[in-house]
């Protein structure tokens, strides 16, 4: 068993375990912290796959900005724990059964059809270098310049939308 296979298996166990921890934590703050660990693990997977830029973007945007926003809202609302008020008692076992079926089906379909054959590059050999980043930047700003600019407009629209959503009406109490 080679070293990178051991690395992959350990990281995969950590990723799945933190995802389950996120799912089954009673306290929402613990869920958010488990999810941060999961995002960092996925970032290490990106490094293994030879995508250092995406790995850094994952850590700064997902594990940094987005999860800080989540923790801020959880603590602002004081919604760490909710009483378990379940309306449909048979919903949980049904959901888990359907999820297992979904996992088996999606794995089967992804592995059987329309799949490029081959293995992933060895990490670190000629992948995680400055030249890779330079080529990525050239592709981003030459071939995908218009989508990049549209993304900036999308972020502006989201920002304006959020401000409009949470703004209080001047003078009167917002219902």
């Amino acid at each position: 068993m080679t070293l990178d296979l051991v690395l992959f298996l350990v990281l995969a166990v950590v990723a799945v375990a933190t995802a389950f921890g996120m799912l089954f934590s009673k306290n929402a703050v613990y869920s958010a912290l488990f999810l941060v660990l999961n995002f960092v693990t996925v970032a290490v997977f990106y490094l293994l796959l030879g995508a250092p830029f995406i790995a850094m973007a994952q850590i700064t945007v997902y594990a940094g900005a987005i999860m800080v926003l989540f923790l801020f809202v959880i603590m602002l609302l004081g919604a760490e724990r909710l009483p378990d008020t379940r309306v449909l008692p048979w919903q949980k076992p049904l959901a888990i059964g359907l999820a297992v079926i979904l996992a088996l089906e999606s794995t089967y379909l992804l592995l059987s059809k329309a799949r490029p054959a081959g293995s992933v590059l060895l990490p670190g050999d000629e992948v995680n270098t400055v030249d890779t980043l330079r080529a990525l930047g050239m592709t981003l700003f030459n071939d995908y310049l218009l989508p990049f600019e549209v993304t900036s407009v999308l972020l502006l629209v989201a920002m304006v939308g959020v401000i409009v959503l949470v703004r209080r009406e001047k003078g009167g109490q917002k219902s």
Partner: protein, 100 residues
């Protein structure tokens, strides 16, 4: 060398955990986190394929997905805060009327 199938299987498992979270949990914030987990699983599959095909396009798509996810989280959390202001709860079973 790690076969790309391993990454795809891991991605499918993470995606399924996200789906289960959306179906099982009743806290709107946890449901939202599960959606982020599903986006991450899809990103992992895209980067794995991009690495196999030795093409940068997949990585750039993932970059755009991350940007859209950031915008989505901002709007979604604002909506959750607004729902909490009117209903004083973020239990999704309580959100059963269109008019607040």
């Amino acid at each position: 060398m790690i076969p790309v199938e391993y990454y795809i299987i891991l991605s499918a498992i993470l995606f399924t955990i996200g789906v289960t979270g959306v179906l099982v949990r009743r806290n709107a914030l946890i449901i939202f986190m599960s959606i982020e987990l599903m986006l991450n699983a899809a990103n992992l599959a895209i980067v794995a394929f991009s690495s196999v095909l030795k093409s940068f396009s997949g990585q750039i798509f993932v970059f755009f997905v991350i940007a859209v996810a950031a915008a989505e989280v901002a709007v979604g959390l604002a909506l959750i805060v607004e729902i909490f202001k009117t209903k004083h709860s973020i239990d999704v079973d309580q959100m059963n009327s269109l008019k607040g």
